[in-house]
Amino acid sequence: MTGATDRYLRLTRLAQRAFSHGRLERALALFTAAEDEAKRAGDRELSDRAFCNRCVVLLELDRLDGAVSELKSVLMRVRDPFTAWMAAYYTAQVYKADGNINRALAYARRATELARACPEPRAMAASANEHGTLALLDSHFAEAGEQFELALTLAGEDHVDAIGRAIIRDNLGYCMMCTGRSEQGMTLCRDAAAAIETVGARQYLAEVYQDLCYGSLQCGDFDEARTWGEQALKLAHQFKHPTVARNTLMLLADAAMDAGDEEASEHYLQSLAEHYPDFRGMKSFLRAFNVREVINLKA
């Protein structure tokens, strides 16, 4: 990038301040003005950076979808590693929002590569977490685990808050459970639960307890699985997490069946069947087949 004009720098600082105070429309207007200023100065690299800055706000406003072709163009032409990283990272975000996890993951992988060349440590931390999340959604558990481990290493207290770190830890724990390291995964998920309980953010606990229920089942501890599962189910209902509720009912039914408690398994299966009224044979199916190895609880 060539030297930025004073006006560009001032507008960008004001935009960043507005953004950090949650004044998103104001931030958008200021980033747009900064981008215009960079274009006026004839500085392509700078206007590309300004455009990517604007995308940060567009993402928050849920208006990023129209920007994807320009983001890809920026990614192809830009030389500055941080701008290229932003372009790849936000392209991944657009595809993720569209539900195209496969393509989102491809751009997240590119962002991770670019982050290594960035002088900005936050780029690597953010990339690792996003890359891990997308790999997890796409059932690449080993790859996701590597990224979450990296994200945890980089997630210093100034970059990621206690809840964010706990969520990364929980995701890493689940990846370990899915790759044959259930005991280690349980330890991480227990740590994550303890951290979230300390902060008191109970809305995040349902998913962690669900993962602990799954991990306990993998370890063959059916009583512990039921304890975690019951807690997960209660919170899933309280905080309206229907996917967690359905997954947990399936896991609880598993735990009850594996423990030989037919009455409890009937109760959980009946509750699960009420979520899927079109599938009348579900109960007998789940009685016959343990499907937890083919289900991705995070998908």
């Binding site: 007998s284 016959a288 190895e293």
Partner: protein, 119 residues
């Protein structure tokens, strides 16, 4: 009784079933993926046993095949066994030979008593 002796199908065998049923219905991966709301590449990975689905997608898949859930893993149905019979057979097969003989004797005893009552 400890445990209900359920089958634990490996991801790979689920994928093989999906491919088999899709091909029997002359559906392409793209068509089936669209029906169940996932990417074709994900369905391809699922058929290879590399991709785990959500519970919702698993049930949508069964709906797309218009199969009862029990039919999905159709070996039991093909063999003409009920689930209970299949579980019993599975348990029987893992017993030592001497204990299998005891089970056979017990079943014969029960059959004889039933015959006697019938006379």
């Amino acid at each position: 009784m400890k445990g209900l002796n359920r089958s634990l199908p490996p991801t790979a065998s689920v994928g093989q079933r999906v491919r088999q049923y899709r091909q029997e219905r002359n559906l392409t991966q793209t068509e089936l993926a669209r029906q169940i709301g996932i990417q074709q590449s994900d369905l391809s990975r699922m058929e290879k046993g590399e991709y785990r689905v959500s519970l919702d997608v698993l049930f949508r898949l069964l709906q797309a095949f218009e199969m009862s859930l029990g039919q999905f893993f159709g070996d039991l149905v093909q063999q003409g066994l009920t689930l209970q019979e299949s579980n019993l057979l599975e348990s029987f097969r893992i017993l030592p030979r001497a204990e299998q003989d005891e089970v056979v004797e017990f079943v014969e005893f029960k059959r004889n008593r039933q015959r006697e009552r019938g006379q």
